[in-house]
């Protein structure tokens, strides 16, 4: 059949044409890799920044998977391979050191860094910085508060011991909800307790293990006491933030340590619980010590292989601006990093706990800023899970050994 070869040739030609990059028409497209935010606040922010650029760039979103581990896996795989498609990255606060050390994100130029840091709360600023440079501009932030039932708790307990005592005396309906599953949330729990006791996982340089014996033991003792108390939920060993939220909304609990998203959720799903929902800063470890809570949220960095780095920094500056932060707060309920917004009436209506949130954020603790953070986190959560089997005396040493191995990227995890 004579037609066949021609057909084949035509197909090959078509395929080759298809491979060719289409000539860009109009402004260059910038890709923003970020998690899928359900309310559409990020899309709206990108649309507004595109419009504000007056045709200099077009900002498109590329979504990362929902699972936090998978988000990182996808990104680092592409970054390690030198993908030029990644212009902007919505960076989880724990990626800063890893991405910066590997040279996968560009440091912010001095002048632009100054402009995106003006008026930002200290905690979020530190979360985007590594070795005295800014790698990711603070966008939205988050941290845990203590949520409690105002109808069951007469006087707010100020320390962990007081809270557990009080919960035990309430009996029925007095459960404390915390994250005890073997995952990132358990590391967050430990880091917050350790910082509240005055300790830290790594020293200032980030190259040596700190884990001072006295604060570490204190943190472990609290975890053990909570896990063995009748006031802890029987499913503590497998509970994450969302299980805690559901358990609190079901009315079985008097206390919960959780992020701010539980507030709109309770109002929507369990108004009768929301009516009696109070908030406060995390309890302290001792009356003389201030509680310090781990910070979360996302910052915006520029990919090292971006084809348009200058435009990307410009777009990132727009994305972390006051307008975008207000948008993210209003549509998505994501707490802003601009301090002044916490005095804004519209924002205060969304976050009635704005003042507690701002002071908690100002004193917030960072998870260990090291390129091997993901290894260290696994080492911590594996060593301490399940919380009820913690033996503080023994586990101070076990934890130190596990973190030391992870820090030197030794062994398997």
């Amino acid at each position: 059949m004579p037609a066949r070869p021609h057909l084949l040739l035509a197909l090959i030609t078509l395929a080759l044409l298809g491979c060719e990059r289409p000539q860009p028409e109009g402004p260059p497209t910038l890709r923003w890799y970020v998690f899928k935010e359900q309310s559409g606040a990020f899309e709206e922010a990108a649309r507004r920044c595109t419009a504000a650029s007056q045709g200099r760039y077009q900002l498109d979103l590329a979504y990362l998977p929902t699972d936090a581990d998978l988000q990182r896996e996808l990104l680092v795989r592409r970054l390690a391979a030198g993908d030029t498609d990644i212009d902007l990255i919505g960076m989880d606060v724990i990626w800063t050191a890893e991405l910066a050390e590997a040279g996968w994100v560009l440091p912010w130029p001095e002048a632009q860094a100054r402009s995106v840091l003006t008026g930002r709360i200290a905690g979020p600023v530190a979360s985007g910085s590594y070795q005295d440079r800014l790698w990711a501009a603070p966008f939205t932030t988050n941290t845990q508060l203590l949520w409690y039932r105002t109808d069951r708790v007469a006087t707010l307990p100020l320390t962990w011991d007081a809270m557990i005592d009080q919960a035990e005396s309430i009996g029925q309906g007095g459960l404390i909800q915390a994250q005890g599953e073997r995952y990132e949330g358990l590391t967050v729990f430990f880091v917050s307790l350790l910082a509240s006791a005055g300790g830290s996982v790594l020293d200032e340089s980030g190259e040596r293990v700190s884990l001072e014996p006295v604060p570490t033991r204190k943190a472990l003792e609290v975890m053990r006491r909570l896990a063995r108390s009748p006031a802890s939920d029987s499913s503590l060993a497998s509970s994450r933030e969302d299980q805690c939220r559901l358990a609190f909304e079901s009315g079985r609990s008097a206390f919960m340590l959780n992020y701010t998203y539980v507030w709109p959720s309770a109002q929507a799903n369990a108004p009768e619980v929301a009516d009696h929902m109070g908030w406060a800063r995390w309890p302290a470890l001792a009356p003389a010590l201030k509680s310090r809570v781990t910070i979360g949220g996302i910052n915006i960095g520029v990919g090292a292989n971006s084809r348009h780095p200058e435009l990307a920094f410009e777009a990132a500056t727009c994305l972390v601006s006051e307008d975008s932060q207000r948008l993210a707060a209003r549509m998505g309920g994501l707490p802003p990093t601009l301090s002044a917004l916490y005095d804004d009436p519209e924002v205060r209506a969304i976050f009635p706990f704005a003042d507690v949130l701002r002071t908690t954020l100002a004193d917030a603790v960072q998870r260990p800023p090291t390129p091997v953070y993901s290894d260290i986190s696994i080492a911590i959560s594996r060593t301490l899970h399940p919380l009820r089997d913690i033996a503080p005396e023994r586990d101070v040493d076990r934890l130190r050994r596990a973190v030391e191995r992870a820090l030197h990227s030794e062994g398997l995890l």
């Binding site: 390690a80 590997a102 497998s238 993901s374 990227s409 062994g411 995890l413």
Partner: protein, 293 residues
């Protein structure tokens, strides 16, 4: 050797050459590269810190609790699934062999699980055993969170593997069954051998090569199990297999040196398995099986 033989031999090599080259390119090179990587400290997160470290990565793997536990898990899944698959597969092969009507339909139907993509099958089983969306708990009258406990998670993983690959074993065994000359069976029947005796003394010995091939393929396959575990538990509940450990080191931690050491260990493991089978069941059997198959 005569000139003609030499010429033929040279021609033989020439004809093989393209295939040998392709094999070298697509298998020998990656394997050699993995071995080379495994002797280095090579972590993509620390691009400036590459160095030759000798066998340090292997020492690190072999002294790690994670490796030995995952090896145990892998062997457990391998032994559990291959043993059941062999029994079920043999039964299925006998049925397919004896079936008088609808032979083609039967063979096609029994192959359906094998044709389904592993990830899809694993997801299907995961949903089936899920306490909220699944039907298994309702069927058995249980209230069990199957994938949130170690032993029940192994049950689900092994069951998925069995369901998926029994058809493969059955097909290989069916090929073996057709090798048994019907005359021999008939002669044995005339001599008064019972069905059991015919099976044990005639069918099984003649099928030995086919059984060996089926066992070997399946064991090697099961030893490298990845998708089912990744989809169903992602290695949680202490169900990590050696491939999951390699994935964690290579893809999640980007530690190419350490991860390659794990990969090389898995490679050595598969070679050991192959050698073990050949030793135990006789080297001749494999050769014959290869030619006849």
């Amino acid at each position: 050797m005569s000139r003609q033989v030499l010429d033929e031999r040279r021609l033989g090599w020439l004809l093989c050459a393209p295939a040998v080259l392709a094999m070298l390119l697509v298998t020998a090179y990656p394997i050699a590269y993995a071995v080379w990587l495994s002797l280095h400290r090579y972590d993509l997160r620390f691009p400036d810190q590459q160095a030759f470290v000798g066998l340090a990565n292997y020492a690190s793997v072999l002294t790690s609790e994670v490796w030995w536990r995952s090896l145990f898990n892998t062997l457990l899944i391998t032994a559990g699934s291959v043993a059941v698959e062999l029994l079920l597969g043999f039964g299925l092969a006998l049925v397919m062999h004896r079936a008088l009507v609808g032979r083609i339909a039967l063979r096609t139907a029994s192959l359906v699980p094998y044709a389904i993509i592993t990830v899809v099958a694993a997801l299907g089983w995961r949903f089936a055993f899920d306490p909220t969306t699944g039907f298994v708990n309702a069927l058995l009258g249980l209230d069990q969170a199957w994938l949130s406990e170690r032993w029940s998670a192994f049950v689900v993983i092994i069951a998925t593997e069995i369901w998926k690959t029994t058809p493969f074993v059955a097909l290989l065994l069916l090929a073996g069954l057709t090798l048994v000359p019907p005359d021999l069976i008939r002669a044995a029947r005339v001599d008064g051998a019972s069905a059991w005796q015919r099976l044990v003394h005639i069918t099984l010995p003649l099928m030995k090569p086919a059984i060996l091939v089926a066992l070997l393929f399946r064991t090697l396959d099961a030893f490298r199990i990845f998708d089912t575990v990744y989809v169903q538990t992602r290695g949680a509940q202490d169900t990590e297999t050696v491939s999951i450990v390699a994935y964690q080191a290579l893809i999640a931690r980007l530690n190419l040196g350490l991860g390659s050491a794990v990969s090389v260990m898995i490679f050595i493991g598969t070679i050991l398995i192959a050698l073990l089978y050949v030793r135990l069941l006789g080297a001749g059997a494999l050769g014959r099986g290869g030619r006849q198959g």
